[in-house]
């Protein structure tokens, strides 16, 4: 027990010193840290409840996924049958309903070819041999395609990965610091933006699908039929300034052909969005505008026509401008959304939390005061109860506080409001190990053992209890970390760090202090 070789002392002190040093940058204001060249140093990350900001949980609209896959498949089937080799397959009565798409083949001799063509449009899902669509023939000429759950799931999975990237690009464009964008489960995205107190703005930006399409307006369409929502073949009817407008289904260009988008002002000084196309887009745009001078061209965003200007002259430069009653703010939002690409899936907000900057500041302030008072009270109490041994425990608690903060900074753990509570609780429990040890020492003294024996037995007998007790405590911490969400997790992180560091400081570190004292003073009696 008294055997503390120099290397052991050095390594214990070394570990603690590193822990403390890691905590230091978090106490220096960020600007000062940068001046001192410590800008790289790890800092404690404040949770949204302390830093203020917005937390938004987005969920994929899976019902919408099934619907849009069905519509897409309808278009794909039409095209594939028409382009079928050696001979096009004539189909009719195509209808989409629920999870199925059904159509009939006009020439019964072509049913097999049609089935093959339809099968070729499906994709395998996973390794089990199932495909994303089942193709069946009913009533000898009717083909029914049913989308499988596996197909929808796989689509959602891929789309979510893409959606996370796009949401990240959009948030980054806002220039806020340290946002969190993470996939949660299979169909959710968690977005946390510290310092952003306007969730409405944030939602407008990330919730926008930003599916951009350029389509020619069908000027030949019968206005009466358009008004009755009966599109001519090959057309679709979209809303434009509250009225229906017939456009050709075929998109000339889509958002995928864009190179960049930025907020601008048009010749009338109105806010607009300037876009430039990539090589392929420029070519298609030039070609279409050359061939259709004088005709209107619809710019469609998320299924709504935002403007339909006439093509006055061929546009060859590969750039265009979208105007349509924007404010500078909405134009900016649209530009960011277009620049980052369109979301492959519709996202809905299912949870939203905003903490104002004032409350966060108040909470940090209150948290620091409460922690300081808690530390002071515990320190005084321990000293009054255990004297010298209490002081050792106090030293251990103080170091413990810094080491937890240092660890949290390095591991980039987030300090939340319940985290502060966990912190205060840790201060309370950190002395428990020392209480156990010191009470044991007292017991052994009462039984008449000498100083060295009492100390030695105290540490030895208490160590096992400390281990058992902290193991169970750690189990609850782990469960909180694994199963908890939000604040529960934040609390669990601090608790677990606290358990780990407090065992080390209160058992190993104080033992070293006691051993050094005994070695130096050779006390015959002690006050405990």
């Amino acid at each position: 027990m008294l055997d503390f070789p120099r290397w052991k002392i050095a390594s214990i002190l070394g570990v603690l010193l590193v822990g403390i040093l890691l905590a230091v940058p978090s106490f220096i204001p960020e600007s000062t840290a940068k001046q001192w060249g410590l800008g790289f140093a790890p800092r404690i990350n404040y949770g949204l409840d302390l830093a203020g900001g917005s937390h938004i949980l987005l969920e994929a609209d899976t019902a919408d996924v099934a619907k849009s896959r069905l519509t897409n498949m309808e278009d794909t089937v039409r095209g594939a049958m028409r382009k079928n080799t050696p001979a096009p397959i004539a189909i009719g009565d195509i209808s989409a309903n629920g999870n199925t798409l059904s159509f009939f083949v006009r020439d019964p001799a072509q049913v097999d070819a049609a089935v093959d063509t339809a099968r070729n449009l499906t994709q395998p899902v996973g390794t089990t041999g199932t495909r994303d669509w089942n193709v069946q023939v009913v009533d000898s000429t009717r083909i029914v395609m049913t989308q499988t759950q596996g197909g929808i799931d796989q689509f959602v999975k891929q789309a979510m990965t893409g959606a996370v990237d796009i949401v990240r690009k959009r948030i980054d464009a806002l220039g806020t610091k340290e946002p969190t964008i993470a996939l949660q489960g299979s169909d959710r995205i968690l977005v946390e933006v510290p310092g952003q107190q306007n969730p409405a703005e944030l939602k407008a930006l990330i919730g926008k699908t930003a599916k951009l399409e350029f389509k020619l307006v069908d000027t030949q369409a019968d206005p009466a039929k358009v008004a009755a929502n009966l599109p001519p073949i090959g057309d679709q009817i979209l809303p434009y300034q509250g009225r229906p407008l017939a456009v050709f289904r075929q998109a000339i260009l889509t958002g995928g052909d864009l190179k960049s988008a930025r907020q601008d002002y048009d010749q009338n000084g109105q806010p607009s969005v300037s876009i430039s196309f990539n090589a392929k887009g420029s070519r298609a745009f030039a070609e279409t505008t050359q061939q259709n001078v004088g005709k209107p061209f619809a710019i469609i965003l998320d299924g709504e026509v935002i403007s339909a200007p006439n093509i006055n002259e061929p546009i060859l430069g590969g750039t265009a401008s979208i105007a349509g009653g924007f404010t500078a703010q909405t134009a900016q939002t649209l530009a960011i959304a277009l620049q980052s690409g369109s979301l492959p899936i519709t996202l809905k907000t299912v949870e939203e939390r905003t903490v104002g900057p004032g409350l966060g500041q108040d909470s940090i302030h209150a948290g620091i005061i409460a922690s300081a008072i808690a530390v002071a009270a515990v320190i005084v109490f321990m000293f009054l109860t255990y004297g010298r041994f209490g002081l050792y425990a106090d030293l251990a608690v103080l170091i413990n506080v810094f080491v937890i903060l240092g660890l949290m900074a390095v591991l980039n753990a987030t300090l939340t409001l319940p985290g502060i509570a966990g912190f205060v609780l840790t201060i309370g429990t950190a002395v428990d190990a020392n209480v156990l040890i010191n009470e044991r020492i007292r017991e052994e003294r009462r039984r008449g053992r000498n100083v060295v024996q009492s100390v030695e037995l105290g540490y030895k007998e208490a160590s096992r209890t400390i281990f058992e007790a902290n193991m169970t405590h750690a189990i609850t911490g782990l469960i909180m970390l694994l199963l908890g969400s939000g604040p529960v997790k934040g609390f669990a992180v601090v608790l677990l760090f606290g358990i780990a560091t407090s065992v080390f400081t209160s058992v190993t570190f104080t033992r070293m202090l006691v051993a050094l004292w005994i070695r130096r003073q050779r006390p015959q009696a002690m006050n405990i």
Binding site: G207, K348, T349, V350, E351, E352, R353, T354, V355, G356, G358, L359, S363, A366, I369, A370, A374, A377, V378, F381, M382, L384, T385, Y386, G387, L417, P418, I420, A421, G422, V424, G428, T429, V431, D432, E439, N450, V452, E461, T465, E468, A469, M471, T472, H473, I475, T476, I479, M480, L483, G484, S485, G486, P487, V488, F491, A492, L495, N527, I528
Partner: protein
Amino acid sequence: MRLLKIVPDNTNIGFVKLRGWAFGLTLLLTIAAGVLVGVRGLNLGVDFVGGLMIEAKFPGDAPIDNVRKHIDALGIGDAQLQQFGPKDTVSIRLPLPPVHDEGATNALVAKVQTALAQDHVILPFNQVDTVSGKVSDELIWKGIFAVVAAVFCIALFGIVRFEWQFGVATFISIFHDVLMTLGFFALTRYEFDLNIVAAVLTIIGYSINDKIVIDDRIRENLRKYRQMPLGELIDLSVNETLPRTVMTSLTILLALASLLFFGGHVLRGFTAAMMLGVVVGTYSSIYVSSSLLITLGLDKSRFRQMEEAGDKKKAARARAERIGPKA
């Protein structure tokens, strides 16, 4: 310097003798807590029932009646106003709008803001939480699952590391602690949210900590005093660990009290729950879990056989490590 001694040396309180009374009282309190939770229910926050929660701060005392008047006039459903924190802050709870599209909740928040701005200096809202029914259902199940999983894992730990009676006794007393805490929330109507689940889990962790220390001492004494009757042995163990139990509870209560008084209103419910949990947990460690061992029939002879059949080398090593005369 004379050191502080909260608990005098060599106490000899007959805890086991009192266990009939303690069990009766505990059972009564536990049933009362259960009934209270069943009848009055918990004041579940938006985390668990879904909805919209706005925390508004006013320059002076919050004009509750006026706020209520304005919000009722909006006709946006049944609003609940609460004030647990400082006098200038009021929390407004609203059901989510039936059409849940992107703009609807924002519009609702804006509506409330405009309505309040008619009579009051308008400050930005402290906090706005919106939780959809789907998410809140998941959160509540996750919360319940976490608590149940924690209790079971710990009981399992008790069974593996000690004897089954220890595991079961711990399980029962933890159940009691949790129920008492829930009873407290049903009684005070403090909002029960995700933070409180963290508090409940912490109480479980702390309470277990406490019980394990006593259990460990009982096990140690079972080895030491093989002939002592179980009741006497438990009394001895609880008395021996009493100074530690009281000391630790006091330090933790001290730390929590500073959080309660200085930690800001957001954590008040959380802290109150933990303080109560510490008191209840300490009580159940002393009176419930250890005394239950007798009721459950901890078999001393079986324990002795296991010990004797146990690893003799280990015992020899332990003896060799000791310095000085034997006890």
